[in-house]
Each structure stands twice: as C-alpha cells, then as structure tokens.
Symmetry: C2
Subunit: 217 residues, 2 copies
C-alpha cells in the first residue's frame, strides 16, 4: 500500500487540468470524476461543493506561492534603498517557477488557473483571494509606489490593473499563444521565456511618463 494517491488528490489533479484548459464554468463534475476514475458523489463528499473544489485547487498553489512572495516583498520593503521597478517585478520569477516543484506542470498550470479565475466571472474567487492574501498584495502596491514616486496613486491603480490584464490574459491563452509562436516564428518558448518577455513590457508600461494632454475632464 505504498504511494497511494487518495481520492481527494485524484480529484484535485483531474480538476486542475480540466479547469486550466476548459475554464471553471465549462468543466462539469462528471468530466472531473470521469478523468479521476472516481465516483461522482465523491466531490461533494470530500469538498462540499464545486465552489469549494475550485478554491481547493487554487489553494494548493497559493498556500505555497503567497507566503514566499510576502517574504520577498517584506525583505525589499525593509532595505530602504529605492528599488527600480524591474527589480520589484522580478521578485515574482523565482517563486513562480518553484511551483514546478509542487506539481509536474505547476507554474504553467497555476498561471493558467489564475487567468481563468479572473476571466471567468467567479465572484467568490476574487473574494477568496483578497480575503486570504490582500495584505501581501498591499505590500506589492507599496513597492511599486516607491519605485514610481512621480506617479499619483490613481494612475498606479489603473496601470497595475492594465498589467493584471496582460498577465491574466496571457496566461489564460498561454497555450494557444505558444502554439502560434511555434508555428509562425519557429520559436519554442516555455513559460519561463514568456515571463522574461513580460517583465520589461510591464515595467515600461507602468513607468511610462505622464501625458497631460487629451484628458477632456
């Protein structure tokens, strides 16, 4: 009886795979339990509801990632020197890539799930995330503000959400994008390559100079 994968783990593994590729709403419990080779009722028995299953799937990654990020943010905040924006954004790289240790396709899968979580209109996920990890997020925003002292808080708010859009959308459609890139440009980028392309793009956008024209309000 060595190496027995529990029913719960079988469900989580199948669910995360299907959620990532099909989205939360468009994945049925019957698909999940079918792939997991497990009885349909097992989901409700072990997780209570589909909603809680979704949260459990994300929690498996978040509980590893977020404390690491929180620690890195605190460290950067502690040393008083003004951090450059690229450095702040680069903090994400290592913790994200280390998710490959918690699951085979960890990083890619998690980012894809994150994308789904924000594009599907799953209100409870937003709440779940802010409730559990809101304070870590605040630290990050503080770091960005320190790196861009000339930008008003409202401008940073908008630009960070612009950036969130880039990340979420890129990750949600990551697979399709990589396939197109491979076909059209003969280049084979892993998730790590995408991340390294993203950071300078985001840094330039967030730090772009204020234009005082055109605003008709």
């Amino acid at each position: 009886m060595v190496n027995k994968t529990t029913t719960q783990d079988k469900i989580l593994d199948a669910a995360e795979q299907l959620f990532a590729s099909t989205g939360f709403a468009d994945t049925s419990l019957r698909q999940i339990t079918g792939m997991a080779q497990v009885n349909l009722a097992a989901v409700n028995y072990h997780f209570g509801s589909k909603k809680e299953l979704i949260q459990s799937v994300l929690q498996r990654y978040l509980s590893v990632l977020m404390p690491r990020l929180d620690q890195e943010f605190s460290q950067l905040l502690a040393c008083q020197k003004q951090n450059d924006l690229t450095a702040v954004l680069s903090v994400f790289i290592k913790p994200l890539l280390e998710l490959n240790k918690v699951q085979h396709h960890g990083t890619r899968m998690f980012l894809q799930l994150l994308g789904r979580g924000y594009t599907d209109v799953q209100g409870h996920l937003r709440w779940f995330f802010n409730h559990h990890y809101g304070r870590t997020l605040d630290k990050f925003v503080l770091l960005v503000q320190q790196a861009c002292p000339d930008l008003p808080a409202s401008e940073i708010f908008w630009r960070l959400h612009f950036s969130l859009g880039t990340v979420v959308f890129t990750m949600a459609s990551n697979q399709a994008l990589q396939e197109i890139a491979a076909a059209d440009f003969n280049e084979n980028v892993e998730i790590e390559g995408v991340i390294h392309r993203l950071i300078p793009y985001l840094a330039a956008g967030i730090a772009s100079p204020l234009t005082l024209s055109g605003q008709t309000h």
Copy 2:
C-alpha cells in the same frame, strides 16, 4: 405605428446589455427574452441559435467600426512617412468613440462585449472575427512594425498580445474598475478617460527596448 422597434431589435438590445454585464455563457435566452418582453422562441426564429445571436450583437458594432478603422489604417499606410507608435494607436480613438452614435452606451458596451468575447472561451467568435476582419488587422500589425523597425516580428507578436490582454481585461472589468476608482480616488473617469490612459501605457510597453538578458533558451 411610428417608431416601432422590431422584435429583432428588442432582442438585440436586451442581449447586448446582459451579455456585457454577465458574459455570453452565463446569460440564458430566457433572461434575454424576459427583458426584451418577447417570446422565448423568437430568438431561434429570428437568429437561428444563441451562437448566431451573439455574433449578431457584435456585428452591429463591428460593421460600423471595422470599415472605419480599415480606412484609417490604409490612409496611414499610404503616406510614406514613418508613423510614431502613439499616432498609430490613437487611430482607434475616434472610431471607437463614434460608436456612441449607433447606440446609447455604444462605446462602453461594445468594448465590454469585446472583452467578454475574448475571455469567455467562445471559439466561434475568434473565428468569426478573423474571418471577417483579418485583413484589417493585418494592416494594423504592419503599421506597428513600421513604427518599431528595431523589433523582430516575433517580439511584436508577443507584445501585441500582451496589449490585447490589457485592453480586453480592462474593458471586461471596466465597470468594476470605474467604481473602485470613483470610491478610492474620488475620480470619475468615463470610457474616454480610460482610453486616454491606456494609449501611453500600451505605447510604452510595445516600444520598450529589447533586453538581451535572462533568456535561457
């Protein structure tokens, strides 16, 4: 019998409103026909299927917007001078804002629909768009390439998709973002204000200098 709004228009108006706020998949035909005060079977009678209804809702805007964009792109391509990126992106502003003439909340509604179209996993919409307006899109890509002669095509491909993510995500969650901005920063931005904030952000990101570090491939 003056000013009679046809059943089809009643359906389209209700559908676009519900699609924009709830998404395509999460809006049922019964909600639509309920709001439109129309019989359920009318949708299938007039549009054939829900899928075709979705396309019709988008088509009402696209058939106005895309020819205008195409014309502007062609014009920019004709004059040989090298266009700066901000100028190329700014081409979108006027045609987008003129959508307010085809419907009361035209611009905001259309952009929100566009966001839904890309975030919901509606494969047929991608196909529909590329099939009808692919060549207009090619002109835009060409303009961007001319504006950024130092960037390889593959890099432009990625950065344009990053930008698409920003636009789509911002527009899909536009309403929520505007509400937060109003509450936290006491600022009341219309859709026009958001567009004017977007363009310098996108331009900076797309034109960001190539970094030759970190790529481990």
